[in-house]
């Protein structure tokens, strides 16, 4: 079994705090870059220039935003449900970090080696919904409440196609099995283990996006809905609900939601890379670099989709999920199961 980073640190007590610090640092830099990338990509798509004044190519723009948000006055509106209002940003922010710990950046570089990592990631994804609902309900603002109700309905209904499409990949992995480089023996692959999934693709040199194209598309679309992005950004629909569930949040609390949204986007694209685009395996470059490059490509596609499409209406969102996505993903799962059973 690949030694995890913690074994490298010979199980000293400091392992967990260091790992947490590493993740926080990496994520913060990632979010800074992602926000800058979003503004630059949107600028390039719209034939303009995006931030250029701050830092060499406007690279320090998000740093300036963060500095400003830190020093903003934290307003707590008067008749607000205080515990919910204050807890919501933290709850939105915390599970997101935990999910990153499970990601297999390379064969050996994995923070928490877990047999059913996939399940964990989906579980942490679910917590974010609670946070959004607390934020919406807590800030005693009709727009926020509407946004919260919408986000709960959307996240719950889009988790089903998400998980079903991931399941079809798990089925394929369990069927294929793979030989461990060292042991040489056929190991019963545990589809839920993220590193096993990537190893399966690595061994057979076959990315699952080719094996399961429909699952990949369904996964991508429901991932967009999970992270409240673009055609599905109904919870914080700018043109209808002013600013959706984070209408009443100012300063650092708002930036935590911002942080959570972009890290969610990162996790979902990392998972897509693990499930469909062969994790760390790539010809020349080292594992983690491939992993990040691929996830940034997925994030670019998410941004590209955001700046192209108008927003779906709420009931259309629901009908699209229940009438198109779920039947399609169930069909795909049955087809995979049938093919796997036959082989």
């Amino acid at each position: 079994m690949p030694e995890t980073l913690s074994q490298l640190l010979d199980d000293s007590v400091l392992a967990m705090p260091i790992a947490a610090g590493l993740i926080m640092g990496a994520l913060t830099i990632n979010v800074l870059m992602l926000v800058w990338a979003e503004r630059k990509v949107s600028a390039w798509i719209q034939r303009r220039m995006g931030p250029t004044e701050v830092g060499p190519f406007g690279l320090l723009q998000t740093l300036a935003d963060m500095l400003k948000l830190i020093s903003k006055q934290l307003i707590t509106p008067s008749n607000v449900d205080k515990p919910l209002f204050h807890l919501a940003p933290l709850l939105a922010f915390a599970p997101v970090i935990a999910a990153v710990a499970l990601m297999p950046f390379s064969k050996s570089l994995i923070l928490v080696q877990n047999d059913f990592g996939l399940l964990f990631v989906f579980a942490f994804g679910g917590i974010a919904v609670i946070a959004i609902f607390m934020a919406g309900w807590g800030s005693n603002n009709k727009y926020a409440l509407l946004g919260a109700i919408r986000s709960v309905a959307q996240s719950i209904s889009y988790e089903i196609p998400l998980i079903l499409s991931a399941l079809s990949v798990v089925l394929v992995v369990n069927a294929m099995g793979f030989t461990l480089a060292s042991g040489g023996s056929i190991v019963v692959a545990n589809g839920l283990d993220l590193s096993h999934i990537v190893m399966a693709q690595d061994q057979h040199g076959l990315w699952f996006v080719l094996v399961q194209p429909i699952a990949a598309i369904i996964y991508f679309i429901s991932a967009l809905a999970e992270t409240n992005r673009a055609p599905f950004d109904i919870p914080e629909a700018e043109s209808e609900l002013v600013a959706g569930f984070h209408t009443e949040y100012s300063g650092m609390r708002f930036s935590m939601f911002f942080f959570a949204e972009y890290t969610n986007m990162l996790i979902v694209s990392m998972l897509a890379v693990v499930l469909f685009f062969g994790g760390w395996d790539g010809p020349v470059l080292p594992g983690p670099l491939w992993f990040f490059l691929k996830s940034y490509m997925v994030i670019f596609v998410m941004m590209w989709v955001r700046w192209t499409f108008p927003r779906l209406r709420f009931d259309q969102l629901m009908t699209f999920c229940w009438k198109v996505m779920i039947p399609l993903s169930i069909l795909n799962l049955l087809a995979t199961a049938f093919v796997v059973a036959v082989l």
Binding site: V41, W44, R47, R48, W304, T308, F309
Partner: protein
């Protein structure tokens, strides 16, 4: 098939949308060509007709403006943003404006004052990037002309005197010409009698009536009183 057809055609339309945005993205990112005018670095190319606050025109001949403080613009301005005062200047007949203040924060750039100005001395300035901490945007139009004012009055006085002397001279010339004409007529009259006297002896030389001497064309219309500059001899170039 209708169901899947609809889903597929819908998906197709999404893809065309993405193709278009990517082509725009490629034009900007790879083609290095965006539509942004980087304002602080590049100044915009303003049209000649661009309208900003009004200002007094500096004419070449006189080197200064030509406002006679007739308050036509103050009366016509719909937003009451022009306040000017001025009038007679000792030494010259022409009226001059002393104070011309215009509040640019009230001005709606309609241009009625420019049409109403009898001496066409107002025009739009080309100032477009004004921003400041202060609430007071009154613009003093006469500020740039103050130091030329004394010199202009001096030159104007000289011109008017010359014009006055020229008029006096012409008046005398006209008087002399009249006397000369009278004198000539008087001689002609005498010759006529003399001829009449000797024609009395030989009647055959038909008397040729003296060619009616063309009445000296009266000097052109008396110079218009109020704009003497029209007939001013070319003043030397103003040291602007």
């Amino acid at each position: 098939m209708g169901y899947f057809g609809k889903v597929l055609s819908g998906f197709g339309s999404l893809l065309t949308g993405m193709r278009i945005t990517f082509s725009q993205f490629a034009k900007t990112f790879f083609g290095r060509k965006n539509v942004t005018l980087q304002y602080p670095k590049e100044q915009p190319k303003l049209a000649p007709a661009f309208r900003s606050a009004i200002k007094l025109i500096r004419f070449e001949e006189t080197g200064t403006h030509d406002c006679v403080a007739c308050k036509a613009c103050e009366r016509i301005c719909p937003s009451y943003c022009i306040k000017l005062s001025g009038g007679k200047v000792e030494g010259i007949k022409k009226k001059r404006v002393a104070e011309f203040e215009m509040d640019f924060s009230l001005c709606s750039l309609c241009g009625l004052c420019i049409d109403a100005c009898p001496t066409d001395t107002l025009e739009y300035s080309k100032v477009y990037e004004e921003a400041g901490y202060n609430r007071d945007w009154r613009v003093d139009l006469v500020a740039e002309f103050r130091e030329y004012e004394a010199e202009f009055v001096e030159k104007q006085r000289v011109i008017e005197e010359k014009a006055a002397t020229a008029k006096k001279a012409k008046a005398e010339a006209a008087k002399k010409a009249k006397e000369a004409k009278k004198a000539k007529e008087a001689e002609k009259a005498k010759e006529a009698e003399a001829e009449a006297a000797d024609t009395a002896e030989k009647p055959d030389t038909a008397e040729k009536p003296p060619a009616l001497e063309a009445k000296p064309a009266k000097a052109d219309a008396p110079a218009k009183a109020e704009v003497p500059t029209a007939e001013v001899p070319t003043a030397e170039a103003p040291k602007s």
